[in-house]
Symmetry: C2
Subunit: 304 residues, 2 copies
């Protein structure tokens, strides 16, 4: 068994599934448990599952500290979860405190997008980048912003909520706002874009992203145009972020992995059309840690 | 004469006028020269004027260091000016180096919006705020972003170029982009908004901001609607910034001073409509240093 001083516990809490892992500061994962989150049950049963999995791992792999990756909004500094839309009942839930009590370990909590940014900056292709932005591009659309290599947090330790920003006057309603950035850029917005653009075809039963991707591969130009609309929206948002913060790199999450190089190329093309000439040096790339990113994002939060 | 160790030189380079001031770390201004910039002449004659005014002041008030406030884009870290639209000919101009040679003083250069943010954080109502954003709301529309009390700079030391971001698909063209944030939010965009909304009345000869303000005061609802459109656009941009960065305060520059509490109230109302509920604690206020802000913004850059 490795020296206990070098092991860390990572806890990844998602709306659909959760995981607990044991890893090293070098990003090596030694053990892993995964289970369905059952998020409709609310925080207490979810926390019980989390603690049980963590204790089971800790018996075999004593860890020095634990890190948690979880969706926002949250007060990341104090580890208090503030009613994320995908985690019903987590209202001002003192996650850090509860885990520290149960596990008798120091616990750090981070917004999932920021945790992914930290993992990429630690172990990815762009390791060591000072200003790095990770866009989740998943079911939701969030940003993790690393400045000087540290996860940016706002007033009150609050997580970044890029997806709530306005993209256009009108548009799909996500994050409680018609025309929000999340509506145009998130995976969950894609069916809504399809229904809006082709109401006769998709108004009654909006297609899933997988269905659209399959149709597009078969040469369906309407399906392709929806995925392109989403990609160009992401490129637009990336350009506005670059004009504001001039990061060295902006990394694209899940959708880049699932939809591939064509989708990333469209994001990048729109970015280059839109960004200030001096901001165009910013690299627009898929996240480099692939399937490992989720686990590593929880692990990196535990590190000193 | 005060102890020379405690004096600093501030140089404010604008498109219309420039100034040199001598001040203390407490923000007291002891001497001041102002002259028309003559910016159409290009950088060399402007630099000569600047050096002459600085030397004249330094003879009487030996200063420890100099600070420069100037519009972007620029590499603020190295003090290189990168072709600002309002300063023709300042193309990769090594301002810091040239001034250090001429004045034999350490010189720091900062983006004007960031310099204003620093001055407000040093001597304004919100002194000591960790995360403070200053929106110029002048002829142009720029942002100075203070994080952890320091002026944020992007990759390569680059200034923030918020105004270049996209506000809408279409709209006034400023900063080289139709629909840019600058087009909707800058003073220079207001005549363009008027011409677009009321082409019969203002298409041929767009009104100035002062004309619109005078008409609005007389009860002209069309004129008032243009100023309101501008204010709501600023409120919208402030909300997107708050969703992203959750600052403690966003300060509004020139237009807040010239158009008054009604305009600020409209900005704030739109902000509160739009911002994420957790971001609504962010204060939206006019800059507090008023007429002194410009001088103090140059002075603050000189301070250690």
């Amino acid at each position: 068994m490795p020296n206990s001083q070098t092991l860390y516990l990572g806890l990844d809490i998602g709306g659909t599934k959760s995981a607990a892992i044991i890893g090293t500061p070098e990003g090596q994962v030694l053990a892993r448990r995964e289970w369905p989150s059952g998020s409709s049950r609310g925080p207490e049963p979810m926390l019980a599952d989390l603690i049980a999995a963590a204790r089971e791992l800790l018996r075999e792999f004593p860890a020095k500290a634990a890190g948690v990756s979880i969706g926002g909004p949250l007060d990341a500094a104090r580890g208090i979860v503030l009613s994320p839309p995908h985690l019903p009942g987590w209202d001002a839930f003192p996650l850090r405190e509860r885990l520290e009590e149960a596990l008798q370990l120091p616990v750090a909590v981070e917004h999932d997008a920021a945790a992914c940014a930290l993992a990429e900056a630690a172990w990815g292709t762009f390791a060591g980048t000072s200003r790095l932005i990770y866009l989740t591009c998943g079911t939701g659309f969030g940003a993790g912003i690393l400045l000087d290599g540290k996860a940016y947090r706002g007033a009150g330790g609050h997580s970044v909520e890029l997806g709530h920003g306005r993209f256009a006057e009108e548009g799909p309603e996500l994050f409680g706002k018609r025309g929000s950035i999340e509506g145009y850029c998130a995976g969950a917005g894609i069916p809504l874009l399809a229904a809006a653009k082709y109401p006769q075809r998709w108004g009654a039963k909006p297609p899933t992203v997988a269905e659209l991707a399959a149709l597009a591969r078969q040469g369906d130009t309407e399906a392709a145009s929806i995925l392109e609309w989403n990609a160009r929206s992401v490129g637009q948002v990336a350009a506005n972020l670059a004009d504001l913060l001039f990061p060295e790199v902006i990394l694209l999450g899940s959708m880049a992995r699932h939809l591939g190089a064509g989708w990333v190329g469209t994001v990048r093309a729109k970015f280059l059309e839109e960004a200030h000439p001096h901001a165009r040096n910013c690299k627009i790339e898929p996240a480099s840690l692939g399937e490992r990113l989720q686990d590593l994002s929880a692990l990196v939060v535990a590190l000193p």
